[in-house]
């Protein structure tokens, strides 16, 4: 994903501001562009009620967007300070990184970011405040959330499979004729092809590395407690990757 040319960024900003008229460009520096203001919306979802809300938000667009996605913050203290999916500085934790990228890919513009990630988050929060549960479910904190996303998205049977998948993506990217890392015995093309391709295309080297570390740490903890066993081949692959990326020196 290349950095956006100024013109392209401007046209994405224009598109965003023409639909969400309460927002404005607040600041433009070498490192980021900040858009902020009021975000009123009327949002509906299948099988759920329509919710009208309005939040004061700030969107910080880094200068390497879309390689790095924007950060969103709620400014008006409308979201409870102890709400789990919000950091103490007001930044909203919209999704597990790979899921955030996958959703963004469906409409990879600033407007898409707002309509498909920020508004659903705010809808979810409003719903949660009213009814006490999240309408679109919530991801577990930290590495577990990352891992569960892989398991849900690929319908994997266990955590070791998730580790195999992330190692596969790390070492091979997308290879249609390799054995599918889910362990089915089929080749990728005949198995999880489309899903793996989607993951591969939406990962940046940064997100892939973080997911690898996260899933590995989660599995390592379980292995230590005897809740999981890692097959030798997988262990060797993990060591290979660790060595290659110089995360850990293994002699």
């Amino acid at each position: 994903m290349e950095r956006l040319v100024r013109r392209e960024l401007q046209s994405q900003v224009d598109e965003l501001l023409s639909k969400h008229r309460g927002l404005a460009v607040i600041s433009e520096t070498d490192t980021e562009v900040i858009v902020a203001g009021k975000l009123p919306f009327e949002a509906s979802a299948d099988g759920l009620e329509t919710i009208t809300g309005s939040f004061d938000i700030e969107i910080r667009i880094p200068n390497d967007y879309p390689k790095q996605l924007p950060q969103a913050k709620e400014l008006g203290n409308q979201i409870d300070s102890d709400y789990e999916h919000r950091y103490t500085d007001g930044t909203l934790c919209l999704a597990v990184p790979i899921e955030e990228r996958r959703v963004f890919a469906q409409q990879p513009t600033l407007l898409g970011f707002v309509d498909r990630l920020i508004v659903p988050y705010l809808y979810g929060y409003s719903f949660f405040k009213m009814y006490g549960y999240h309408p679109f479910d919530e991801a577990e904190h930290g590495y577990e959330g990352v891992l569960r996303h892989y398991m849900d998205f690929l319908e994997l049977k266990n955590e070791v499979a998730a580790l195999r998948v992330i190692c596969f993506l790390f070492e091979h990217g997308y290879r249609g004729h390799h054995d599918c890392p889910c362990g089915s015995g089929l080749i990728v093309r005949k198995c999880h092809g489309p899903a793996l391709r989607e993951l591969h295309e939406n990962h940046t080297s940064q997100t892939r590395r973080r997911d690898f570390i996260g899933i590995l740490q989660f599995c390592a903890a379980k292995i230590e407690y005897g809740q999981l066993t890692m097959p030798d081949r997988l262990r060797n692959q993990v060591l290979r990757i660790l060595n290659k990326t110089k995360l850990v020196k293994t002699n």
């Binding site: 520096t29 203001g37 009123p40 009327e42 498909r116 988050y121 904190h141």
Partner: protein
Amino acid sequence: MTIDTKAFSHFLEQVASEIDIPPGKYQQAVERYQGVGRWLEEGIYPECTGDLSIYPQGSFRLGTVVKPIRDGVETSYDIDLVCELPLQKSGTTPQSVKAMVGSRLRENRTYAKLMDHEGRRCWTLEYAEQEGVGFHIDVLPAIPNPRGLLDTAIAITDKYENGYSWSASNPRGFGEWFDRKNQAAFALAVTEQKQRIQRNASLIFASVDEVPDRLVRTPLQRAIQLMKRHRDLHFNNRTSNGYAPISIIITTLAAHLYENELDVYSTLSGIVNKVQAHAALIEGRSIDHSLATRGLIQRRPDGTWYIGNPVNSDENFADRWHEDNHARARAFFQWAEALQRDVLHALSMEDSRVLNEHLSRTLGASAVTKHLGLIAPPLQPQDVPRIHIAEPAKPWRDW
């Protein structure tokens, strides 16, 4: 679209209170620095006969606190605490005064952990707070330095490359001068404000009597807060960061120029317009006679600048303005002009989006957006975007 000045003034008042320190946080700050004060008071200092005098100076004393902001992020509050030891100047040195206070602080295990490196004039204690923004307390060791019997002037310690020296200061005197300038407005505002504060923070203050005077804000104090915040944002993204006008200059000029206007807008525009009227000095031209006579900002024959401390004319707040080809002087007037344009001229802004952009850029989106409804018309129902959610992500948290 023109905005009603009354509505705009109310808006500015609200923005100022957003960037102010909330009453609960203020109480927390007071507790913290009183704790430090008590510890210092109970120390034993060689050759000290008598009590220490410990008191806040700067924005906490004057009631002009603003949430500091750096790179768009709010950083910790800055509390200046003077620690005056009853010593004779002839009987001690700045180095030993500094050291005495430092070692007393370090005797306390908690403070020792909070202490940063030695500052030029102070010892800094960094408090991270669990909720929201933290504090740092700068403890300034000092001794009395009176020029006369009732003089509150002090000498503070100044560390430079080769050693320590004394530096003149008079925070108590300045505080009293400021209070006098603020007095009439304070008397008008106090009852109504204390009632409001007590109502909004009834868990902290059980009755109006418990609300400290230091939480009352007159239009002068509000104007100073807005000017400081505008300054923080104006210099944030520029290389001219080091030349930003210091708060004491902003406070002094504002207090001098305040004419007891009753609302924030009139106060701010009065101050800024009169400050800007001095801009001709940059080019060495003369300014309006009545302003020149007051001598608030002076350009001397040798080209250097003078803004006197109202309680000590020997102290020149603008003593560095001529450096680097008058960089600070130019930065000051450019900033004043920007303030005029950004805030005062907002009244004639055409578009509510442009208005939002301007005000947010210059005063901070977080403080402005919340109160924009006071001056901009709300979006019509048909303008509210409709969004259908399909395949949403699950919210997460990194840890």
